[in-house]
């Protein structure tokens, strides 16, 4: 390279070529801007790229990991305000959190009401801290020796208004109690169910030394419809099926406390006896002994989506109208032992109740209560990423193969075109699926495979173009000057086929986006990265075809992005290959 040694000349030439390129670019942009379809396509692509780059600006939720945001299979919220003849559903409910000051965050008893059957010996008041609990409601029963008062009941409750005209998808209640009082050490023989092996039969009998409360306490959490004048014991749920979501331990409290005649606390856990048979609750579960304290945490969930008559359906019949409801806890001190002065204390730390709605967000929820809108948003990323990268790969391979086959000719041409033929003869999608199954279902594998299997058509086009370019005079001139084959291929021929490259890039992306979606739909994709195909796969796996808000958007997005790329590609084609402009 003689001319490269002339530094000043080179820089001059570069400046000149820069100005020339700039002019070309301005010229191109001017031509392109006149093409309204191309601009439309570019705008749509731009919107999708923005969504793909900054998904967090469009949704606060994670597409895969934010589960149980609402009820499962939730419908879009706006369907509620749509007229019925348009498919509106006035009975939809939203997530609802009616309890005020449920964990005593206000440091007082705002929002709470209570009734006492014996106001002389029981008291209800607010305490700032007990053990490690901050903010707690304290129900105390104490009396002197000699007299017993039988069942002494105190009820603490909140009343709220349920504004929706349909049943919620589910309700979720939580109660956290601490129990304390005067105790007597006794050695008892008890039959118990060990919670680590609840199926053990006959149930083992053991002697234990237990601290037994002098005044046994019954606790019932209840839920009451004021309009229907009906009350339902919520916890423990005896009549109704108790739904246990995975990962929520301590749910199996069914039927333990309500009929308890005694709560026993010792080092190995809490013993709750109901009539003759009792149950040990493992201390690692939600009953924790702390000195003589018993800490009880219970959660309960009722659902409406199953075919069975489940709790939420019983509480909220489908024809439910908006109404007042009451959630409360009833504490009964069973005072029968007159021998000594006794006290019994129940601390209520949390009594919460919230409702998961049958509707959620802009696009509803999936089968795990995840936000479909954010799945659509994050799916944009995968589609664009796979579509653009795999197309680039395919075009680069096709370009190199086409250049080599076209310019070098002979053996190279023959060999490359036969490879091309073989790959064209194999069935594309089945081969792709097999290879994805072989190499693993990661996004990167998919990109490489789509690139490696998609270059043949373009290579043929480039080859035919190169063959015609090869005979042009300027190539002859370059040869005469002594330019090498690589130099001619990449410096002289390549710029002349670049317009083809841009157009092919734009028009091949949709096919690869659809291919990615198809593989996702068939399940051959990374399950931890939500894509549009995977959304539809999960929809089909849960047979939610009826949920059109789940079915339609991914496909429409694929179509929109595909058409945007096609419009953009055609516009490029018209601008870069002006021969076509006359034709249309």
């Amino acid at each position: 390279m003689v001319r490269d040694s002339m530094a000043s000349g080179k820089s001059k030439r570069r400046g000149k070529s820069l100005a020339y390129n700039l002019k070309r670019i301005v010229n191109f942009v001017g031509l392109f801007a006149r093409n309204t379809r191309g601009i439309l396509g570019l705008i749509i692509i731009g919107i999708f790229v923005a969504i793909a780059l900054f998904p967090w600006a469009f949704t606060p939720y994670d597409a895969v990991n934010d589960r149980q945001l609402s009820g499962f299979f939730g419908a879009p919220t706006w369907l509620k305000s749509l007229p019925t003849w348009l498919g509106g559903r006035p009975n939809l409910t939203e997530n609802y959190f009616p309890m005020v000051n449920s964990g005593f965050q206000y440091s007082n008893l705002t929002g709470w009401n209570w009734t006492q059957s014996d106001p002389v010996h029981t008291s209800v008041r607010y305490e700032d801290s007990v053990l490690d609990h901050n903010g707690i409601l304290h129900i105390n029963f104490s009396r002197d020796a000699g007299v017993t008062y039988g069942n002494v009941t105190t009820t603490v409750y909140q009343t709220f208004y349920f504004p929706y005209s349909g049943p919620p998808f589910s309700f979720h209640g939580q109660i956290l109690l601490l129990i304390n009082g005067t105790i007597t050490n006794t050695t008892k023989t008890i039959t118990y169910t060990n919670f680590t092996n609840p199926l053990q039969w006959p149930r083992p009998e053991v002697n234990i030394t237990a601290n037994e409360l002098d005044v046994p306490i019954k606790v019932t959490m209840y839920f009451e419809s004021l309009d229907a004048n009906a009350s339902y014991p919520l916890w423990p749920l005896r009549k109704y099926y108790l739904y246990t979501p995975r990962g929520m331990e301590g749910m199996a409290l069914d039927g333990t406390i309500m009929n308890s005649t005694s709560v026993v606390v010792n080092s190995s856990g809490v013993f709750v006896s109901t009539g003759g048979v009792g149950e040990w609750i493992d201390s690692s579960k939600s009953y924790e002994p702390i000195d003589s304290w018993a800490r009880i945490i219970a959660t309960m969930v009722g659902e409406t989506h199953s075919a069975q008559k489940l709790t939420a359906q019983v509480f909220f019949p489908p024809e439910a109208t908006p109404g007042s409801y009451r959630v409360g806890v009833e504490v009964t001190f069973v005072d029968t032992n007159a021998t000594k002065p006794v006290t019994a204390e129940v601390y209520l730390d949390t009594l919460d109740m919230n409702f998961k709605g049958t509707s959620w967000g802009i696009m509803g929820a999936d089968h795990e209560g995840r936000d479909l809108w954010s799945q659509l948003i994050y799916g944009t990323r995968i589609s664009l990423y796979v579509g653009v990268l795999s197309t680039t790969l395919a075009v680069v391979i096709g370009l190199v193969v086409g250049l080599m086959a076209g310019y070098l000719g002979r053996v190279v041409d023959e060999f490359l075109m036969r490879v091309c033929d073989v790959l064209l003869v194999l069935p594309g999608l089945p081969l792709l699926i097999v290879l994805v199954a072989v190499l693993g279902t990661s996004i990167d594998n998919l990109i490489i495979l789509l690139g490696a299997l998609g270059w043949m058509g373009f290579a043929r086009v480039v080859r035919s173009q190169v063959i015609s370019l090869r005979e042009r005079p300027f190539i002859e001139a370059a040869k005469a000057v002594g330019a090498g084959k690589t130099h001619i291929m990449f410096r002289h021929i390549l710029p002349n086929v670049m317009s083809l490259v841009y157009v092919t890039l734009a028009t091949t992306v949709p096919g690869n986006i659809v291919a990615e979606a198809s593989l996702g739909f068939l399940g051959f994709t990374d399950p931890n990265r939500m894509s549009w195909g995977l959304m539809l796969n999960e929809m089909a796996a849960n047979t939610a075809y009826q949920n059109w808000w789940w079915v339609l958007p991914p496909g429409l997005c694929i179509a929109l992005i595909a058409i945007a790329f096609i419009l953009f590609g055609y516009a490029l084609d018209e601008v870069l290959n002006p021969r076509l402009r006359l034709r249309r």
């Binding site: 036969r418 033929d421 073989v422 064209l424 003869v425 194999l426 069935p427 594309g428 999608l429 089945p430 081969l431 699926i433 097999v434 290879l435 199954a437 072989v438 949709p510 659809v514 979606a517 198809s518 739909f521 068939l522 195909g533 539809l536 929809m539 089909a540 075809y545 009826q546 059109w548 079915v551 339609l552 991914p554 496909g555 694929i558 179509a559 595909a562 058409i563 096609i566 034709r583 249309r584």
Partner: protein
Amino acid sequence: MLLVVLALNYAIFFLMPGDPVSLFVNPVRGSPEGKAILIERLKARWGFDKPPEQRFLIYVTNMLTWNFGDSIASGNPIASEMLTRLWYTIELMGGSAFFGILIGVALGVLVAWKRGGKFDNFMVTASLITYSLPVFWMGLVFILIFTLNLHWFPHANAFPYDWGLPGRRPIAYTVSAAASPQWNGNVVFLFNPGGAMELLTGYLLHLVMPLATLTLFTYGGYLLLTRATMIEALTEDYIATAKAKGVPERGVIFKHALKNASLPLITSAAIHLGFMLSGAIITEGVFSWPGLGRWIFTAIGNTDYSVLQAVFYIVALCVIMANIIADILYGIIDPRIKYGA
């Protein structure tokens, strides 16, 4: 060419991970010794214990003699299982190719004829949209509309499921010996119009939705291709000559333009038909269609190499054949092309 495909076909599945033998060995039950014996026998059953070069030889002879061996997952001979599925795939793919090409070419000619008008713009946009929509999504939307909301068509299988039960399949005709005390060798053919009608409607009703989905997916490409080639042909000089000569417009379009524009159409139709046998994996999956595509899909799940090898081989064969046929058709349509001259 065919041999290269054969070798590639073998290599892909030779490298495919996953052990089909493990499908048949219960990981929980049974003694290790018993399992070892079972595995050995299973390997001998399909010849996995032989060295690779010997397996390759067996594979090549199997393919070339059209005796594809036995399916690993089901144990049945592949050739017979392929035949039962072949019909459904041809029914679906052939039908959609037929309608898709017909509609696409007809509309393409029409659009090219009236190019630049509103109809042209509408059809080009519509076909671009249907062409770029994912086919499985179209199927899902069809199910949503026509099965779940309108209850017009069933959405799964190629015939009502209960036809698979004994005695449930409608009978179109019976062939029996004549019911006379002295049988004189006559055979009575009894046609049952009710049963035949039921059979026909049963099959057709199940065919409608997958066929419509695939046709909707197919026609767009042909429309665009026909339009492009037709417009190119219509701007040629000989069309102007024909028009000047006073040939009616219909004749110009069909005799002069379409005949010359049909070469690329034939290529793409040939490739389309060649790939017909690979079935539409996705459409067949959406509609639970018992064709070859679904077979491929389940075979991938079962690591059933022998089925996949056989299907890939047949598909490659069909594509090669289709290309040859297209070349021959070229020669018939375009007399300028002469082979072997």
